[in-house]
């Protein structure tokens, strides 16, 4: 069921200005870096096969276990690249519809996957908790992804290395919320300092953000 009448799409995109484009660029750059790493591993394993072939031509015995390990490395990287590209495709298509019904957990998982590399750079893990029942809401999916991403950026910047951030969607009789828990260094000041980009999207989505530094939690009230 629609939770709120969205504003016309031009108003929604205009309201975030360059921030949305920056989000798109940041995610695309992160994906291309990850794919380069995958290609580098495939390249080295292809090189290994080349080395083994060269040695075999000169009479060296071929170890089937060594070949098997190389094949497994190829398969692992192909699956990894496939996952990256599936996420990229879903993300790219999120601008297709300016308003649609989204499964909040699915969207949160997608954004967490896209942000995984950024989190890993700070040695932070991201976990998502599935709700007992699917939570649907009607909104602009790209704007909501951007909002969750910006909140995760804030959370990652505030949290210390080695920690885990947990994203939990919640639906009550009167509200739909997303909690990001485990943010160690969260303070009102930090939240305010990073709120500039977030505010415009909150306004466009008609959502609210609250922080609980003592409880190490940031909450987005989406309906």
């Amino acid at each position: 069921m629609p939770w709120r009448q969205s504003k016309p799409m031009t108003v929604q995109y205009d309201s975030i200005g360059g921030s949305g484009l920056q989000f798109f660029g940041t995610v695309s750059a992160s994906i291309s870096h990850e794919l380069k790493n995958v290609l580098a591993i495939i390249n080295e394993n292809a090189g290994l096969l080349e080395d083994l072939t060269f040695a075999a031509r000169r009479g060296a015995p071929i170890d089937p276990d060594r070949l098997d390990r190389t094949v497994q490395n190829f398969t692992k990287q192909i699956h990894r690249a496939d996952e990256i590209l599936k996420n990229m495709n879903r993300f790219a298509h999120s601008v297709d519809q300016f308003e649609s019904q989204v499964d909040l957990h699915d969207l949160v998982v997608l954004v967490a996957n896209l942000a995984a590399r950024k989190a890993a750079m700070g040695r932070i893990s991201l976990e998502t908790t599935a709700p007992a029942q699917p939570i649907h809401l009607t909104c602009n999916p790209f704007l909501l992804e951007n909002l969750v991403w910006l909140c995760l950026e804030l959370a990652i910047a505030a949290t210390g290395s080695g920690r885990t951030l947990t994203l939990t969607p919640e639906k009550t009789a009167s509200a739909i919320r997303l909690h990001i828990a485990g943010i160690d260094g969260l303070s009102e000041t930090l939240a305010m300092r990073n709120a500039a980009g977030i505010e415009a999207i909150l306004a466009a989505l008609g959502a609210e953000m609250t922080t609980d530094p003592a409880g190490h939690t940031l909450t987005l009230s989406l309906a």
Partner: protein, 142 residues
């Protein structure tokens, strides 16, 4: 002479495949899966070249390069990156990196760079030895 290499990259599958290929080329390879581990290994051992990934968790390659060069200015460092930008290249060169190569790297190009690194290191060692001998001779009045 076999080159002594330290390979630092957080992608363990890359480390394993690349080190195997280098060993097949008669290099002595030590690996580290983080910049912190790499810095510890540099302190503990002697290397002809360090091959350092640019994007790593906690401490990136540029930060690690700064520390490596502060600790050992003669150390020859080759940076590897997914996407090399001119800005990164300039920064790396200013900090004293030998080169910045893009992933996936060509093993022959990398081997050439490693040979250059080893030759540079030997030249530095020779110059230092000459200098030390000159000082001894001057002290003795020879």
């Amino acid at each position: 002479m076999s080159e002594k290499i330290l390979l630092i990259d957080d992608e363990v599958d890359f480390l394993s495949a690349m080190s195997e290929r280098m060993k097949a080329r008669d290099m002595q390879v030590t690996t580290a899966s983080s910049a912190k581990e790499g810095l510890e290994k540099v302190t503990a051992g002697s290397f002809d070249a360090v091959i350092l990934d640019l994007a790593m968790p906690e401490m990136d390659g540029i930060e690690a390069l700064k520390i490596l060069k502060e600790k050992n200015p003669d150390l020859q460092v080759i940076l590897l990156t997914g996407h090399a930008t001119i800005k990164q290249g300039i920064e790396a060169m200013k900090l004293g990196a030998l080169d910045l190569l893009e992933k996936p790297a060509d093993i022959n190009a990398l081997t050439e760079k490693i040979k250059t690194a080893q030759a540079r290191k030997m030249l530095i060692v020779e110059k230092k030895n000459e200098e030390a001998i000159r000082k001894i001779m001057a002290t003795k009045g020879w």
